[in-house]
């Protein structure tokens, strides 16, 4: 049996953790650059605020109904997520962290009543971390997803937990579930299924898996079997090693000047290098890309990128920045309003195992670069990100994200710890 534990309104719940007065109040969290809604508390959902709503569209409602608005604080969400996952991980011999707020657990062979067991999981996560979770239990991951969703919507007799096998009429539940809401079915695929007369989960379960395999491939066949209770998707405990590292951002305002882009791209390259070093990886190539907004239809769209291989694999921020800026100079065209840029590190290899290039002149001392980078990382870890920066990162700050309503780094900065009153 699988359990899917999923945090309720995770980002909103994280914001509430250190601001208990927001309990029971409407909250929304905005995407990078405060663009649109990416998370809502139940009270905000009840006001009719939808996922993806642009902020300007809800601004009036926000004022009228006193909705609390937050810029996304991924540092905080990541910290709380690690806490939640570590509590959940203690409840099962094997588990798979599926996303920042979801986790599959293997409940096979546990000698407990699984509903009771899961209820105690919910209680413990809530007490230890302050985050509410819902749990769906089922013989397959796909059904566990569905059970979880029903528990979240208050359709479980057992509150935040729903064991699919205890559901009195599972067929009815499947019949009420549109195909697009099944895990792994995108809206386009859903539309094609509807053309075949398959519009809900029950119809899909009854469909001929071989026929669907012909139409949609093996993934759809698996979904049919999963709906029938035959597990086809195992737990994936080990996350695949990262093959690439991407650092990219949409800009708060459009950028026209090369120097602004240079500062942004240098910052991305430095950050990418930091990520690579943290994982003990080196890049064999770097890709830098820029583009204008595809939605500014009045202006010509421009998008370009360049991949630059290295002589020897590297994670040296200085070298990464030089490559990124070299590439940027090649693809930059004057006169465009750039909306986004990014840096990708490609063909990552573990540090220490890289092949040495015959044509690479012996550089001053590769160990020296490693030591320098280690020192930079140490300083930035101790005194805060961006304490030590490369010169080109400081050319301009106009690329930085808008995040005007970000909550403090409650768990990551000595200066921003939550305050408790002694009064």
């Amino acid at each position: 049996m699988f359990a899917l534990a999923d945090c309720n309104n995770f980002y909103a719940s994280c914001e509430r953790l250190f601001q208990p007065r927001l309990e029971g109040e409407p909250i929304v969290v905005l995407s990078n650059n405060d663009g649109c809604v990416i998370a809502r508390s139940d009270q905000a959902k009840a006001l009719g605020i939808a996922m993806g709503d642009p902020y300007f569209k809800i601004e009036k409602l926000v004022k009228e109904k006193n909705v609390s608005v937050f810029s996304s604080n991924y540092g905080l969400y990541g910290d709380v997520s690690r806490r939640v996952m570590s509590v959940l991980g203690g409840f099962a011999p094997r588990f798979e962290i599926y996303s920042i707020d979801e986790c599959f657990l293997d409940l096979n062979a546990l000698p407990y009543d699984l509903t009771d067991y899961s209820l105690s999981m919910v209680r413990m996560v809530r007490q230890w971390t302050g985050i509410p979770v819902s749990i769906g239990i089922a013989p397959t991951k796909t059904l566990a997803k569905i059970a979880n969703r029903m528990a979240k919507k208050g359709k479980s007799p057992w509150g935040p937990v729903l064991d699919w096998t205890r559901l009195p009429s599972p067929d009815e539940a499947l019949a009420g579930l549109p195909v697009e809401d099944i895990w792994g079915i995108a809206s386009r695929t859903g539309a094609r299924l509807r053309e075949l007369g398959i519009d809900n989960a029950l119809a899909l379960r009854k469909a001929d898996p071989r026929l669907l395999r012909g139409h949609f491939g093996v993934v759809m066949e698996r979904i049919v079997f999963e709906l029938r209770g035959v597990s086809c998707l195992p737990l994936e405990e080990v996350q695949p090693k990262r093959k690439q590292i991407i650092t990219s951002r949409s800009f708060g305002t459009r950028l026209r000047k090369l120097d602004d882009l240079r500062a942004a791209v240098a910052g991305f390259a430095a950050r990418a290098g930091e990520k690579a070093r943290a994982q003990g990886l080196r890049a064999q190539a770097l890709n830098v890309f820029i583009h204008t907004s595809p939605f500014d239809t009045a202006k010509p769209f421009y998008s370009n990128g360049l991949t630059l291989p290295f002589r020897s694999p590297t994670s040296d921020s200085g070298l990464l920045i030089r490559a990124a800026l070299f590439g940027l100079a090649r693809i930059f065209r004057r006169g465009h309003d750039y909306q986004k840029a990014g840096v990708m590190l490609l063909d990552l290899v573990p540090a220490g195992y890289e092949q040495i290039n015959l044509f690479d002149p012996v550089r001053s001392d590769p160990l020296r670069s490693d030591r320098l980078m280690a020192a930079v990382d140490r300083v930035n870890r101790t005194y805060g990100r961006q304490t030590l920066r490369f010169g080109s990162e400081t050319l301009s700050d106009s690329w930085r994200m808008r995040a005007q309503r970000k909550s403090p780094a409650y768990t990551a900065s000595w200066k921003e710890l939550p305050v408790v009153l002694a009064n």
Binding site: F18, Q19, P20, R21, E23, R82, R83, V84, S86, V87, Q127, W128, T129, G130, L308, P309, F310, R311, L319, R322, A323, F326, G352, Q355, I356, N357, L358, F359, R363, L367, Y410, T411, L417, P418, V419, V420, L421, A422, N423
Partner: protein, 195 residues
């Protein structure tokens, strides 16, 4: 008379200048195995695009499985320290202060109502949410939406949130009031040599 010798032969300053080619430095002919000529040409062409750069396309048409041993571990000079044999783990304050990392949060105190318990303004509190609040526990409780530090007290007269400073009043939790305990204070940390 020197006129007669000024025709023919090499003349200073004639021809292309040294280093003016596409590589930006003097060049020389070399012998290359025929099979490798296209690869070398290609590599040189790419090299020319990247003058003097460390970021150069690798010579990759025939990647050589060249596994050179890396001697990266450093060898200690001199004699090993006799203390090495007696080296125990160093002490980590986290072991002392944090019993349940997933449930432990650090908060800062603002105010004087708990000085009787040795908790002063600006002190750090290590709050462990996994601990059960009992009568006598110092807790972080939610009062009017604020996080507040008090001592929890329970007796025949009821449940109280007690300050530890006579200048502040106890708060009784009456019928119908909701008491939310945010966490239990496990330790407090006070710095004596600030700044």
């Amino acid at each position: 008379m020197p006129q007669a010798f000024s025709h023919g032969g090499a003349r200073d300053g004639a021809g292309r200048k040294t280093g003016s080619g596409r590589f930006g430095e003097p060049t020389r002919p070399v012998r290359v195995p025929e099979s490798l000529i296209p690869s070398v040409r290609d590599w040189l062409a790419r090299m020319a695009e990247w003058p003097g750069s460390e970021i150069v396309q690798p010579f990759s048409t025939h990647p050589l499985p060249l596994a050179l041993p890396l001697y990266s571990s450093r060898i200690q000079a001199g004699f090993p320290s006799p203390a090495d044999d007696h080296l125990d783990d160093t002490l980590d304050l986290n072991d002392h202060l944090v019993q349940h990392p997933a449930a432990t949060f650090l908060v800062r105190v603002a105010g004087d109502s708990m000085i009787g318990a040795g908790i002063y303004h600006d002190d750090l509190l290590v709050v462990d949410r996994s601990l059960e609040a009992k009568s006598g526990s110092i807790v972080v409780a939610v009062i009017d939406g604020d996080l507040t530090v008090k001592r929890l007290h329970q007796d025949e007269s009821g449940v109280w949130l007690m300050p530890e400073n006579p200048a502040f009043k106890p708060l009784q939790i009456r019928e119908g009031m909701e008491l939310v305990i945010w966490g239990v204070v496990a330790h407090s940390v006070r710095s004596h040599a600030k700044g």
